[in-house]
């Protein structure tokens, strides 16, 4: 029985460090190669020694596929390809390929330059790694080798995020990466066709959540910002540089445009500018609105959003500032926060999740006095708001995707075990497909039932089709008479004569003969006549012939009657039929065994 094996090296019942190994049809594929944000030691990267103890990975992996540019999906890539060693192809979409090295470089800088780690990958390694990348287009089928093909679908999580379908023969796996089923201001919704994969590997970050409409969230956000600005207050929005930041920028930009607002919006510079550049370029990856209007105006060419300079923080009057990093733990966002915290007119909006221990987390949990370094305390008087703008599918979204793709099995990754359990039950209950949720290092084995394609000769097909009515009924299996030739790993279905000819074999006739004893007082010819009339009456629709040489033919079955001189009343009926007429022949013999009617 063929099977597909899936082993998560990361993201198995866990969030972060996505790395999933798939063996399908003899091919080994690595899906994503991420790092874990929560660790600073070896646990940061997936455990590649699972694949091989020492030596390079090239010979064990056929390809590596990266779904999107977030570090928990691509952070370990240079480490794997350059330090562990992998020379095969790495597939990612064009935007991912463009933005991924920026983030990797930033990550490297923080780890090496700021934290002073050694034994970390270098800039050169990032470059070398990116040279191995083969870009993918949406819905483009790429042949990795003769048997393995991959195809990318839109995932909507961040710019360039993709779901990938991996196909070997008739077996296939779909890996979703992170995806979002509700469109937002700059990205569309994930979409996949009814590809009916054997396994759907889905993320399940929000397995137990059904979210409210995005419009309420947006409206709340805009209202808060608007009110504060109208009061003359300043708004600080700490963000991570890529992804949600652009979403919020678009949101504010269009709102400013619509409402004719004049207060300045600033974005603290850095890697954002470079990334924004790519956002402008990859218009085809955005949503309908941006795609349709970019001819008049590219939405990412912000009119109201300007670059931030640190001196602006002291300017009087209202303003909105996006600053990195998102958790207020260091850098520009913290500096600005310190300056503005004392005024109750100001506001800070946390658009994402904050790790425990950061200033962001403290502020969110309502602390009014913060201890800063140097034993100073900071009084927090400004308003604190939390707005969730996450771009993951919620439970309904995951179910919707499963409904769209109609997989035979589902495998959940990238989520917490407890939440997965709930979703797993739901999936099994509502779609009646089996669902797996392996932990890291644990292998899920999924048996498949691949269909084996067989070539059939056209003349045979037409002949068979003509037999059973004009049109084949797709819902009913049909039996047909033909020969299957397996030769040089190709399967062909041909008619027997042709098979014989091709193989240079002689046709052998197989005939069955059988004697049936009958008690009949008549003479032999009379008995034969009686058999003839009996068969004629029973077998309507068959040709029953009485031949002059003293035999009865039913189709190709020959019947003869003979009797020995000693027992003239015991007639022996000789039946002979060919293999093809086996059914009819055995029916006749059993019929005759019952005797003739008087």
């Amino acid at each position: 029985m063929p099977e597909i094996k899936v082993t998560p090296l990361g993201a198995g019942q866990d969030v972060g460090r996505s790395c999933i190994l798939v063996s399908i049809g003899g091919k080994n594929i690595m899906l994503d190669c991420g790092m874990h944000m929560g660790y600073n030691d070896d646990r940061r990267f997936p455990d590649f020694s699972y694949i091989t103890q020492n030596g390079r990975l090239t010979e064990f992996l056929d390809c590596v596929i990266i779904s999107h540019f977030h570090l928990d999906h691509c952070g370990a890539l240079p480490y794997m390809s350059e330090m562990v060693g992998y020379d095969g192809p790495i597939y990612m979409t064009h935007p991912t390929k463009a933005i991924c090295p920026i983030l990797l470089e930033d990550f490297r800088k923080i780890t090496v330059d700021k934290k002073g780690e050694t034994n970390f990958f270098t800039s050169q390694m990032i470059k070398d790694c990116m040279k191995k990348v083969v870009p993918l287009n949406l819905h483009q089928t790429v042949q990795v080798d003769d048997e393995l093909e991959i195809k990318a679908y839109y995932a909507g999580h961040v710019l360039g995020a993709a779901m990938v379908q991996i196909k070997v023969g008739s077996e296939s796996v779909v890996y979703t990466g992170d995806y979002n089923m509700t469109p937002d201001r700059h990205l569309g919704a994930a979409w996949i066709d009814k590809c009916r994969p054997d396994v759907l590997i889905s993320e399940s970050t929000y397995a137990t959540t059904i979210r409210d409409s995005k419009r309420c969230r947006e409206r709340d956000f805009l209202k808060k910002v608007h009110e504060t600005v109208e009061r003359g207050g300043k708004v600080l929005i700490p963000v991570f540089a890529l992804g949600r930041a652009q979403e919020l920028c678009i949101l504010l930009e269009t709102f400013w445009e619509r409402m004719n607002l004049k207060a300045p919006i600033y974005f603290s510079t850095g890697l954002t500018e470079k990334a924004n550049h790519y956002y402008k370029l990859f218009i085809t990856w955005t949503n309908q609105k941006i795609r349709k209007t970019f001819v008049q105006r590219n939405m990412f060419e912000f009119k109201h959003i300007k670059a931030f300079d640190r001196s602006y923080a002291d300017n009087p009057g209202p303003m909105v500032v996006f600053a990195t990093p998102g958790m207020l733990h260091a850098g520009q966002s913290l500096q600005i926060f310190k300056k503005w915290a004392g005024n109750e007119k100001n506001m800070v909006i946390m658009p994402g999740y904050c790790v425990q221990g950061t200033v962001g987390h403290k502020v969110l949990s309502g602390q009014k006095k913060l201890e800063m370094e140097g034993r100073t305390t900071l009084e927090v008087k400004l308003q604190v708001e939390y707005m969730s703008f996450s771009a993951h599918a919620d439970a309904k979204g995951i179910m919707q995707l499963i409904r769209m793709a109609e997989p035979r099995n589902v495998l959940l990754v990238h989520g917490e075990a407890k939440k997965m359990e709930f979703l797993k039950d739901k999936i099994e209950q509502e779609f009646s497909v089996s669902c797996f949720m392996p932990a890291n290092g644990e292998t899920a084995t999924i048996p498949t039932n691949p269909s084996v394609p067989v070539d059939i000769s056209l003349s045979l097909l037409k002949r068979e089709a003509a037999l059973g009515g004009p049109l084949p009924d797709p819902k009913r299996p049909r039996t047909m008479h033909a020969t299957l030739i397996m030769k040089d790993s190709s399967l062909r279905l041909v008619c027997p004569e042709q098979a014989l000819k091709e193989l240079g074999l002689n046709e052998h006739q197989l005939r069955f003969t059988c004697r049936v004893q009958l008690q009949d007082p008549h003479s032999d010819p009379d008995t034969l006549n009686r058999i003839y009339s009996h068969l004629k009456s029973v077998l309507k629709g068959y040709t029953v012939q009485h031949l002059p040489d003293g035999t009865v033919m039913v189709e190709s079955i020959v019947l003869k009657v003979s009797s020995s001189a000693e027992e003239p009343n015991t007639k022996v009926v000789l039946l002979s039929w060919s293999y093809q007429d086996e059914d009819l022949g055995s029916f006749l013999s059993s019929l005759l065994r019952k005797g003739l009617p008087p």
Binding site: S213, R215, F422
Partner: protein, 972 residues
């Protein structure tokens, strides 16, 4: 080089020589014998050496039209070639040509039916077969009455239904759909019995193909079924299950058609009961199909989603329980039940805590959810609209908004529920969607009362920079009910903010406040002192009367005071003064109030409003009846009676706005009669011409004026019936006859008269053709008499004709005018520019300046094509500008709004001067068109004639507005 060139010249030359005889001779020869089109085609086809050539000839042939009488010949030739042709592409083209030809007007294709069916039986190529069936379809649709032909065609379709090529099956299904008999199962003749599909009716045969292996055939089968439905056949309920199965087809076109199919069935059998699979329960079919279509709102293909969302709106028999599910989305967070933002807002509001500032984590999840009870994929209607309104494609969102509107209009409780969602749509990223949702909210606003928090969200949109959005919102606020006095305050505050931000919205904001005030008098009452900033003890300073914001407040208060008499007691002295001023200057916004110590100027209204309209209507009828007696009176008496009646009617129009259109119409008509009467009764008719040139001019002026008036009558009023139009045309004919008579008298000689007489007779003839049904009503009138002697007229000389006309004119009576039910006069008012500005618009001569024009049009039909802007310069130059179709908006029924820019330009002037801008209504009637070519709209006419008659075919629609402009000489 030269030698080479020479060689090439020779080459080309010799080529020409060679080709000439080759091509021309046979063509010439045959043209002599058979000059018809079919012959030419025949020649071409014979000449064609290869299939490609033949195809080329056929393509060329297809470009030219063929006359009806030669169609048959052409068809024969085509068929002849068809039999000979071996190449299937040529046969295909011939087959398609047959179809095109049988569509020719005046040709009955039944004669070629047999041939086509014959060829069909011998055809081997599937593509050609499909094309031939298509031709049969065309023939069949051309001959819908012949039952026999239909049966034959259907037989053919049955026979080929089993073809292996999808195209043939498609066409067969299409044939069945278009021609399959509607009334009864097909009567089967004995010859048809062998086909294996005997005695089955069309529907079950088509439904067999719902399961075809080719998606295109499946689609065609569903479409054929829908076609049957459209032709009036009642579809059987048995196909419902099949249709439902097709909803989960792999192909989007099948799903899209299946959604329609399910919808059709749900409309046919709403009340029948269907079982729910996997349970013992049963539900109504309409509810079941509603659930299924709701499910399709989250389909993978947006085409299907749009279709599903649109159809949902028309399923109004659905039970309220299912309807309300569409807006339901159970939220949860980490397996805990969470309330939606809508629920939270409602709760906050009901606990009286609204706008107290937000608490941290008030959206924290509440009780734990029972994991088994959560149903993530509801097969029912759950959350369909929630999905539809959040869809990626704006087409789906708009369709969902429209469907919400349609459903909410029929169910008040649903309207209440969908309010939150519609309000949310005000924040959509695409303006079209925002606008649509505002319009929808206005349409359902009769059912709803806005809560304060909802109003707050609505009002936030007032700051939108798009004028359309703001005005739609003002319109919405006019119709909204609000619940508390805080709401009124909030709305006023936001509207005033809007006013300061966008001063051009002045009129719209005032109008909005007018309705807000008159709708909520009791809510306004408690906040009046605050609004007018009065104080019980102290005198407050008198506000500035010219401040638009102050006027806005006053409009609100005065309109509220209209139905709340106690309010006036709260006014201070200057408020009364301001009231008097505003009542005069903005009478459309400020209602008459019953003020203490002041006499009410107008008669008491309210109680007798309905009866007064009725009495006015009676008066109108009576006056018309009185006018009928005009014929019996002597000339001066009749004239004075008409004059009085006209005066009465005009006054009536001013008093009763409901009847203004009708009264105006009658008055204008009577004025025409009066003018003609006057012209005829002049004594000059019996006297020699040269002596009375002056009077003659007066009479001809009257004739021209009557003509003008008839055009106004015909095109300015909407709601006319053909009887009124006939009457108007009749008057016009009279005026023309008058003109003709005058012309005959003014000129000697017959020559110029001849053509004019002929034209007049033509017009009489046209009149007869157009209004043949109305002639009985015009008994004893001018035309009636003319038509009686028409044969004699046609043969007579111009001089005799004139004489006859003259006598007929004088001795015929006027047809009586009967008023139609509803009659409205098209009017237009230019709001912007106001014409009050003393600051000239300066611009450099030779360049252009854009002038913003904002006008409202009432009762104008199809303004996009008929309304023009005319600009008249002081030197008599006039420009007519056609506004873009997109500049017209439709804020309400019968109303249009024109917001456009016109470009002005002129050479330098020494000082500022006024130009006139006005709107024109263009018309084109067949008779006026024949009277001569009109100048194109964009051409300027430099004639210094008065504007009323400056441009033929237009009627001034609005009062002219004067704009000061000053083209400066360009600086060197």
């Amino acid at each position: 080089m030269a030698a080479h060139l020479k060689k090439r010249v020779y080459e080309e030359f010799s080529k020409v020589v060679q080709q000439h005889p080759h091509e021309e001779i046979p063509a010439k020869k045959l043209r002599l014998t058979k000059p018809s089109k079919s012959a030419a085609l025949h020649v071409d086809l014979c000449k064609a050496s290869s299939p490609t050539d033949a195809l080329q000839y056929l393509l060329q042939f297809a470009r030219k039209p063929v006359e009806a009488d030669s169609v048959e010949g052409v068809v024969r030739i085509l068929l002849e070639h068809y039999y000979k042709e071996t190449d299937s592409s040529v046969r295909l083209k011939i087959a398609s040509l047959l179809g095109v030809l049988s569509k020719t007007q005046g040709f009955t294709p039944d004669c070629i039916l047999d041939d086509v069916i014959n060829t069909l039986n011998n055809e081997k190529s599937h593509q050609v077969l499909a094309q031939l069936l298509d031709t049969l379809l065309v023939i069949g649709t051309q001959l819908p009455e012949s039952l026999n032909i239909r049966h034959r065609l259907i037989d053919v379709a049955y026979k080929h239904l089993t073809d292996t090529y999808f195209g043939v099956r498609n066409k067969c299904l299409q044939l069945l759909g278009c021609l399959g008999s509607v009334d009864k199962p097909l009567p089967r003749e004995s010859e048809g019995g062998t086909m294996g599909v005997a005695a089955k009716d069309v529907q079950s045969i088509i439904s067999d193909y719902f399961g075809d292996q080719d998606p295109r055939v499946r689609t065609a089968a569903i479409k054929a079924m829908l076609q049957l439905h459209e032709r009036g056949m009642k579809l059987q309920q048995t196909i419902y299950n099949q249709a439902c199965k097709l909803l989960s087809d792999d192909y989007e076109q099948v799903r899209s058609a299946a959604v329609q199919m399910v919808w059709v069935l749900s409309q046919l059998y709403p009340e029948s009961i269907v079982p729910i699979p996997s349970s013992n329960e049963k539900i109504r079919l309409v509810d079941d199909s509603f659930g299924k279509i709701c499910h399709m709102v989250s389909d993978g293909s947006w085409v299907v989603r749009v279709q599903a969302a649109k159809l949902l709106g028309s399923m109004q028999q659905v039970s309220p329980h299912f309807l309300e599910q569409t807006l339901d989305k159970k939220l949860m967070s980490d397996l805990r039940r969470k309330r939606t933002a809508h629920e939270r807002a409602k709760e906050l509001y009901s606990s009286g805590e609204f706008s107290s500032g937000r608490k941290w984590a008030d959206d924290a999840p509440k009780e734990k959810v029972d994991t088994t009870a959560v149903n993530l994929i509801d097969s029912g209607a759950c959350g369909a609209f929630v999905h539809g309104l959040e869809d990626e494609m704006y087409e789906v969102r708009i369709a969902a908004v429209e469907a919400l509107c349609a459903l909410a209009q029929s169910s008040p409780s649903f309207a209440e529920k969908c309010l939150d969602f519609l309000v949310d749509m005000f924040n959509d990223e695409i303006e079209e969607v925002r606008l649509q949702s505002i319009h929808v909210l206005r349409q359902i606003s009769t059912h709803i009362t806005l809560r304060e928090d909802q109003l707050d969200t609505v009002l936030a949109v007032l700051e939108d920079s798009s004028r359309d959005i703001r005005e739609a919102l003002h319109e919405l606020l006019c119709y909204t009910n609000v619940s508390t006095k805080e709401c009124i305050q909030l709305a006023l505050l936001e509207l005033l903010k809007n006013l300061t931000k966008y001063p051009t919205d002045r009129n719209s904001v005032w109008k909005c406040l007018k309705f807000l005030g008159s709708r909520h008098p009791t809510l306004v009452l408690p906040i009046v002192p605050e609004l007018l900033s009065t104080h019980p003890y102290f005198d407050t300073p008198e506000p500035d009367m010219d401040d638009p914001a102050y006027i806005a407040v006053l409009v609100l208060v005065f309109n509220a005071a209209k139905s709340c008499p106690t309010m006036t007691a709260l006014f201070s002295d200057h408020t009364f003064r301001h009231y008097a001023y505003l009542r005069d200057s903005l009478s459309h916004l400020v209602p008459p109030l019953r003020l203490p110590g002041r006499k009410l100027t107008s008669a008491p209204e309210g109680s007798g409003l309905a009866s007064s309209v009725e009495s006015a209507q009676n008066f109108l009828k009576e006056s018309l009846a009185r006018v009928c007696s005009v014929q019996q009176l002597d000339a001066p008496g009749a004239q004075s009676l008409l004059e009085f009646t006209i005066r009465d009617l005009q006054r009536l129009g001013e008093l009763q706005t409901e009847l203004a259109g009708a009264a105006d119409f009658c008055a204008t008509y009577l004025r025409c009669q009066l003018l003609i009467m006057k012209a005829l009764q002049d004594k000059l008719w019996s006297v020699a011409v040269p002596l009375y040139v002056k009077q003659n001019a007066m009479v001809s002026g009257a004739a021209v004026q009557v003509l003008d008036e008839t055009y106004k009558l015909e095109f300015l009023y909407s709601g006319l019936e053909s009887r009124q139009i006939a009457t108007i045309h009749h008057v016009r004919l009279q005026a023309k006859a008058l003109q003709l008579v005058l012309l005959a008298r003014a000129r000697r000689g017959v020559e110029p008269l001849l053509s004019v007489c002929e034209k007049f007779l033509h017009e009489v003839d046209a009149f007869q053709r157009l209004f043949i049904t109305e002639l009985p009503h015009l008994q004893d009138s001018f035309v009636d008499k003319l038509l009686d002697i028409m044969p004699r007229l046609a043969g007579s000389k111009p001089a005799d004709l004139v004489k006859i006309l003259q006598t007929t004119l004088r001795h015929s009576c006027f047809p009586q005018l009967k008023l139609p039910e509803q009659i409205h006069r098209a009017t237009a008012t230019i709001i912007e520019p106001t014409g009050e500005s003393d600051n000239p618009l300066r611009f450099t001569s030779g360049l252009v300046v854009a002038l913003d024009i904002d006008a409202t049009l009432e009762h104008v039909q199809d303004p996009q094509t008929t309304v023009k802007v005319q600009v008249l310069y002081p030197d008599g130059q006039s420009h007519v500008i056609q506004p873009k179709p997109a500049d017209f908006r439709k804020p309400g029924p019968g109303r249009h709004r024109l917001i456009t820019q016109v470009y002005l330009s002129h050479s330098a002037w020494t000082e500022p001067c006024q130009i006139e801008v006005k709107l024109l209504l263009a018309y084109s009637s067949s008779i006026s068109r024949s009277s001569g070519p009109r100048p194109a709209w964009n051409e300027s006419t430099d004639s210094p004639s008065p504007p009323e008659s400056a441009i033929e075919g237009t009627i001034p629609l609005s009062k002219p507005v004067k704009v000061f402009i000053m083209p400066k000489p360009a600086r060197r």
